[in-house]
Symmetry: C2
Subunit: 526 residues, 2 copies
């Protein structure tokens, strides 16, 4: 390994002279070799130009050709799993089984999109035949389908170094649509990014695709990402990270001469609403499940359940004690990097100091050898205090839960109405209680991307029905999902062909439906 | 008729004390009675609150119930067609046949959306069944579908007082999705807005829907629209108008604490590219068609063809003379209002004064009795000048065409690459020439919502395949269409239900598919 690694600008490497930065091992604090050179302005621009040059040929690929490419990327990523175990664990502190699992999720995701584009119906093909004799004017022949939006910038997520990073969901869905991708590596796991980036580029080469299909940019600060978002070639942005970071990119993209969409998945406390039977009939089981979901991955999942609304009273008090006990037993673990750990510490400290907040458990501020260890925390308050203090609705990213005691059903509805946008909301209870709570469900539906019943929100299934999205501030674009096959729709736009000769139409729109896809023909869905 | 008309705030009327404004007849200049009172801040807020209150019950309507409502609106609008002929012609100067035609287009559009939601498959229902025995963790039951985005603000278009105003395409598609609508009337046709608004409210009442389903706000300036866009209840905005107006609303909506999408359809010069055979073989026929498209509706269609790229040379010179002659023969007509006429005058004057621009015909600055009459104009330049002067790419809204002579194919490709986003681009030539011009088609596809071959872009068919949209600055959201059934997708967002008991699922997602809609079940499209 060279002493300084550099960006992957298509098939070339960046210059070693850019500002260097290093990853470090969150478990040990050890600075990891090598250094990574931040991309220069010229390198960012070059990646943009290459992507622009590649866009046409990528857009012209058939579904089968795109599927072959995505499967090659999947194979290549799986092929380096042993390397990944070593580099990901050292850069993120995530345990080996998680790295293996996330590698499988990454390749599985790529293959799911491969199947989707090979089958081909996702393009929403629509055909309206001409009616030359129509009065007062003839009806023309019109045919439309989704086409790739153009080059996409992808920002790696700190909390999914594989499944939402270099070859993760944003990249897979953008490539599947036929868009070139420029990835900005996360500063905390540059080595992971390099290994996966090289796997992607090997696939670009072996499939004979254009050089600009993929680039990977390093940047220690914000400059590289900002320049990328402002590059005129870029047509959309995918991001997973903090609310402030996502909002900043959203505003930067909106201020461009040509504004572009930003799909930022940002912040969510994933509220859980308990109907009375839960604490009355299965308090321990629920508390155990909640604790498992809350501490999973050191609380660093976007769908971590951060707040639970329950009825006031004896059962509620007993639940708080049970939960406090369970959370205090969970061992401290290293978070992903010191920035996340710092933010967690501040969040816990602010919450501990809030008036009207009861500290159920905070196991101290020990940070271990690597400076990144975090203990679990749990807090309690009541609905009036929660509604009166906006900071209590903020996310404390990490293994922390806030229990909120409500004075019956009306207060729960009031809280539901006051919620900000969320990735998920969960309701626990009996089917009959749920049936009596349609008003609550109707409110929650307007606030979230995914509604769960008697299940915890962590564990986001990659499938066709998944919606990993939701109104702001869960995301900057509540019309979208970043997980599941629906994610491809973020990177596509409809194009209509009017009066085109049959032989110049895309295959998806030909008269004989040679691809055998589902289409809407003269208003009838096939 | 009362002396001062006021906003329709649900089933109530606004106060008469707001700043009054008047429409005027663009053909005569006559100020029209009555006055219209601008909505107060409290009235705008009240419309927002009512819409928020109505959102839940509207979202709960079945497709059939929504269809019934949309058809009632259509019937009611058709029922007042004689009144509309009188008020629309006096407020806009549009001729009676156009008013009758546009009324039919408006009701037809409402009925098309009624059919769409009654059939029901538009919701993109997806079901992934659970696999309880899956290792290492069970697969949950997941089901998703599109749900209404929430209250929508609609800004009436000056150039479509019916089909893109109070009960026009934006309103129809938003209501079809299940969203309450708050319309901001256009200041130039408030009487038209009132007649149609009352027809909508009559339908809300006769269908027994919530009061906040629909409101209509008057405002002489920008204050009312701005307050509407900033209202926290609002979840999306539809707009048709100027580039500066659309961009301002886009930025206002993006700066909200909760940013919301703005679908602004703004500005497009709808370029036409001529392949060599056109001027060599059918110059007169093409010139006549172009003139018809360019002067239609006094050039006030969004899809007006503003610029034509043709080969340099004798045929090109002869085409310029033919076209100049044709355009100079077109009679002057009243534009929609004095603001549009002023802007046209400035555009023509700027273009006339441009160096390197040849004035083919400008019939003078006469404005007729009403001050709104405009004569046609035509200009010519060459590709180098066009590429060197960004102002030549700007829209001159009105009956004006710019002919641009290109030094062969390479210069045409260069121009295509340099184009801003457009609603449409058209290519004229033989099928064999088109086949040799795939490079041009590929570039144009990335720039437009609709690509035409041997057809003029005016005349936007309302159907399933239509894409009336395109990259910025054609619209602020190139992923959308504002005409055709695809327009409903702008006002919907996906919601996923995980682990829900069968009886609590929306009908669209039930196991037996009781609605008989097309769905994706375990990845297979039905």
């Amino acid at each position: 390994m060279s002493e300084i690694e550099t960006s992957l600008i298509g098939f070339s490497r960046g210059d070693t002279s850019g500002d260097p930065f290093y990853a470090s091992n969150p478990a040990t604090g050890e600075q990891l070799a090598p250094a990574y050179a931040s991309a220069s302005d010229a390198e960012v621009d070059r990646a943009g130009e290459l992507a622009e040059l590649a866009a046409g040929s990528l857009a012209a690929l058939s579904g089968s050709e795109k599927a072959k490419f995505l499967r090659t990327v999947a194979d290549n990523v799986e092929g380096i799993v042993e390397d990944l175990v070593s580099v990901v664990t050292s850069e993120t502190g995530l345990p080996e089984p998680r790295v293996r699992g996330e590698t499988g999720r990454t390749s599985g995701q790529l293959r799911l999109f491969a199947d989707l584009v090979e089958e081909g119906s996702w393009v929403d093909a629509r055909i309206d035949h001409s009616i030359p004799e129509r009065q007062p004017i003839p009806k023309p022949d019109l045919r439309s389908m989704l086409r790739p939006i153009g080059p996409v910038g992808v920002f790696c997520a700190s909390n999914f170094p594989l499944a939402f990073s270099v070859a993760g969901g944003d990249t897979a869905s953008a490539l599947a649509s036929g868009c070139p991708v420029i990835v900005k590596a996360h500063h905390a796991h540059p080595g992971t990014a390099l290994a996966v980036g090289q796997a992607v580029i090997a696939a670009v080469k072996s499939c004979g695709l254009a050089e600009g299909t993929f680039s990977l940019l390093y940047g220690g600060g914000r400059t590289v990402g900002q320049r990328l978002v402002k590059h005129p070639a870029l047509k959309a942005v995918g991001f997973t990270g903090s609310r402030s970071g996502g909002r900043a990119l959203f505003e930067l993209a909106g201020a461009r001469p040509e504004p572009i969409p930003v799909y930022a998945e940002m912040s969510s406390v994933n509220p859980i609403f308990l109907l009375p039977s839960v604490l009355n009939e299965r308090k321990e089981e629920f508390a155990l499940g909640l604790q498992g979901s809350a501490v999973m991955g050191v609380g660093q999942f976007c769908t971590n359940p951060g707040v639970v609304f329950h009825d006031k009273g004896e059962a509620g008090d007993s639940f708080k004690s049970t939960y406090a006990e369970l959370m205090s037993q969970a061992p401290a673990s290293a978070m992903l990097h010191s920035g996340i750990r710092d933010a967690y510490g501040e969040g816990v400290s602010d919450r501990s100091g809030s008036s009207n907040v009861e500290v159920l458990t905070v196991a101290g501020d020990g940070r271990g050898a690597g400076g990144c260890e975090a203990s679990t925390s749990a807090f309690a308050t009541d609905a009036r205090s929660y509604l009166g203090d906006a900071s209590l609705a903020d996310e404390v990213f990490g293994p922390s839960t806030l229990l909120v005691a409500c004075e019956g059903r009306e207060e729960m509805l009031e809280i539901a109405r006051a919620l900000e946008g969320q990735l998920t909301a969960s309701v626990f209870g009996t089917a009959s209680e749920l049936s009596d709570s349609q008003d609550l469900v109707d409110i929650l539906e307007t606030k979230v991307g995914r509604l769960l019943f008697n299940q915890f929100p962590t564990g986001v299934e990659v499938c066709h029905s998944m919606v990993h999205g939701g109104p702001y501030p869960a995301t900057t674009d509540g019309r979208s999902t970043s997980v599941g096959t629906g994610a491809i729709l973020r990177f596509a736009r409809p194009v209509c062909y009017q009066g085109f000769p049959p032989e110049r139409l895309p295959k998806e729109l030909d008269e004989e439906n040679s691809l055998g896809i589902k289409r809407v023909v003269d208003g009838k869905r096939g």
